[in-house]
Amino acid sequence: MENQDKKGMTEKLLGINPVSLLNEMPVKKNPTYMRKGFLYWTGAMIMVAFVYQIVTGLMLLLYYNPAHPYTSTEYLINNIPYGALINATHLYGAFAMVVLVYVHLFRNYFVGAYKRPRQLQWLTGVILLALTIGVCFFGYSMPGDILGYDASQVGMGMAFNTPIIGTSIATILFGNAANTASLYSRLLGWHIILALLIGMLFGLHFFMAESNNIMPSGKESKHRAPAIVKEDSTMKAWYPYNMAFMIQLSLFVVGFIILIPSIVALIPNVPSLFSPFPGPWRHSPLAENAILYPDYPPWFLLFVYKAVDFFPGFISIIPGFPPIYGGLIATAVFGGIPLVYFLLVPFIDRSDDLHPLKRPIITALGIYFIIYLVILSVWGAMTPGVAVPLQYAVAVLLVPLVIVVLGMLLISKLYRDGKLDITYDRVMTSYFIFLVLLIVGVFALALNFASFMTYSSVGNMINSLAAGIATSFAAIGVARTSSMNNIEKIVPRKPTVYHISEQSATILSAILLVISVAIMFLVINLNPISGQMVFGVGIGVDFIIAGVIIRLYRQVAYNE
């Protein structure tokens, strides 16, 4: 009753009913089961990370000076209150975006979300992946430290060595190389332009997602396209149910984006690939230390970077024409082919089957692309810049492809013959995880053992042992899970429902709030320069606590 009166008051004051306005927003209602976990909301999580990136990016822009990229960044870190924290969380927010974009891509790939009616939504999504990697590349180069400088030089080299239009491309992207300001104002410009393009394309992607609605579970769609949830009267309203969920989700995402780099910053000697701070100035003696600062690109480009080692120097492809720069071929082949494949997949796989096991080749290629990304990235991180003969590289990459495709065809046949029951989902999932682990493990073992044989050291002996143990573990896992597939009866898992009484929820929330206030009280007056990373830990934890409190409220008030 009191609530009703309050609403009446707002309505009288404003002449509108805010709740009905919220429910008239062009956002769809969603079935309750989708709000159980985060699996249906990977796209929303990317959106939260993207908004965080825009806010922190604009705050960094206030201090960035393209004529003195490194000194202005160091100035921000050493002299501006909370400057280092905002810089570090902007970096890790970008990392989170890249990881989440990949998770989002592969999740939607495996459930067949690229099929009708979502083909165009999928296409914009793949373009958004490319734009995200692009914006991260330019951003990573901007501090002008040794790592960023190396990255921009590799990019510039590739642009310049593009046949015919190379100089134009390079000057469009990197300026006329006259001086520091020319290069870094271009990097800043493209960083912002690409972020803007992401924002605009994301708008399109988002509204397509709203009009198609979130893809329902396989059970609901019966694994047939088009998989659409029809809004009906039994669905709960967007406000407050979905809004509370969205706030909870946002608090978790932002909380972890702040918490993780703050903790990493407090750990000494973090490898340069994951350090939340810029590396040394590119001309300083420290920058020439190849052990601390190998010639690495950002980690999300390591896979292409290793591929460059397969094509050293310039390679003549068409007789009579000038040879082409190897790095360009590597990027076109190892970055371009997966991208084109993902762009074309809605047109290649046009069947109405949504079950991963009914699309064995498609599913196998998806698993293979994950393995491929992991293998090339790990390889690139371990032996950066060491040339590899092309036939060796092809062998290394072909073996997992054959294993995965044959394995999937076999499993798919079992599934079609009815020997694999759908309730074996969990066993299947573990089987795939173990299979992927096994392939990576065998690869790591081979690489470490080879280096142990050529040059023995304690380091690579321990690495070989660790890889060996991991491989055996994965092998046992594969054997166990594959044999489990033949067991006739598996006790079906009872859905675990975490029920918490109103009373416990109330007490727990109150305790959490007290802890949250206490943490804020402890960290808010720390020195904004020397204590900012501890402050970051506190803020991150407080965000997560707020998320947990909303989760508790949704449990007891909405029974969700």
């Binding site: 000194t71 709030l513 949250s516």
Partner: protein, 244 residues
Amino acid sequence: MDGGEESFDKGRRNFLKIVMVASVGVAAIGMMKGGISEMIAPTLGLTSFPSLTIYDTTGKPLLYENLQVNSSSIVLFEYPLSGDPTFLINLGDTSGKPLDITVPPKPVSIELGTTYTYPTGVGPTGSQSVVAFSAICQHAGCVPPSIHYYPPGTPVPGYYSGSVNTVGLIHCSCHGSTYEPANGAAVKNGPTQNPLPGVFLKYDSSTHQLTAYKMTGPVIFGKPSDLTGGSPLSTPYTKISIIG
């Protein structure tokens, strides 16, 4: 609204709502504090160049005649802010006589394509030989004693023999950047692309005192601008320090 909620006690519900809003509020307070503090531009530094008389190590004004020509030790003073090392050099020729830099100075060019002129040296008429430059190498930020002045006739290790170094050079042993102090510390040899920022000096012919009052050329290496990124000197003068 929907079912399953009527059973929920109203008092508890309102309490939980307050807790929920408060917890988001606590996190938001921290976020606001961080964000707003970051956006407030620091007020450290100065708004204009200070005029500071140079004092010797004993705390008395440094007189021109007490500044050794072609000194083998490095003489530094802080300008414009505390902790900004600046060379104070009394240039001489090969015979050790003060070098009179009264010829109209040549323009000094910097990386951004612009040029500027560093004024003549200061001192009594006929021996206007004292110059001052930022002592942080513009290439990678090396400081004395890695970078210092090599008087004419002395070899620069690994780069120039004594016979080539005829006018005196400031050389940085980190990566080999070399500057010509008699010509506004213009770049003699890379990898640096910028000359050393110049400090304007005044010579009082009655008291023989030296005063630093302005700067020209590129920004001091490692700083967003000459006047920010540090705190002003706490004294109305700047004292020299001597290395070696």
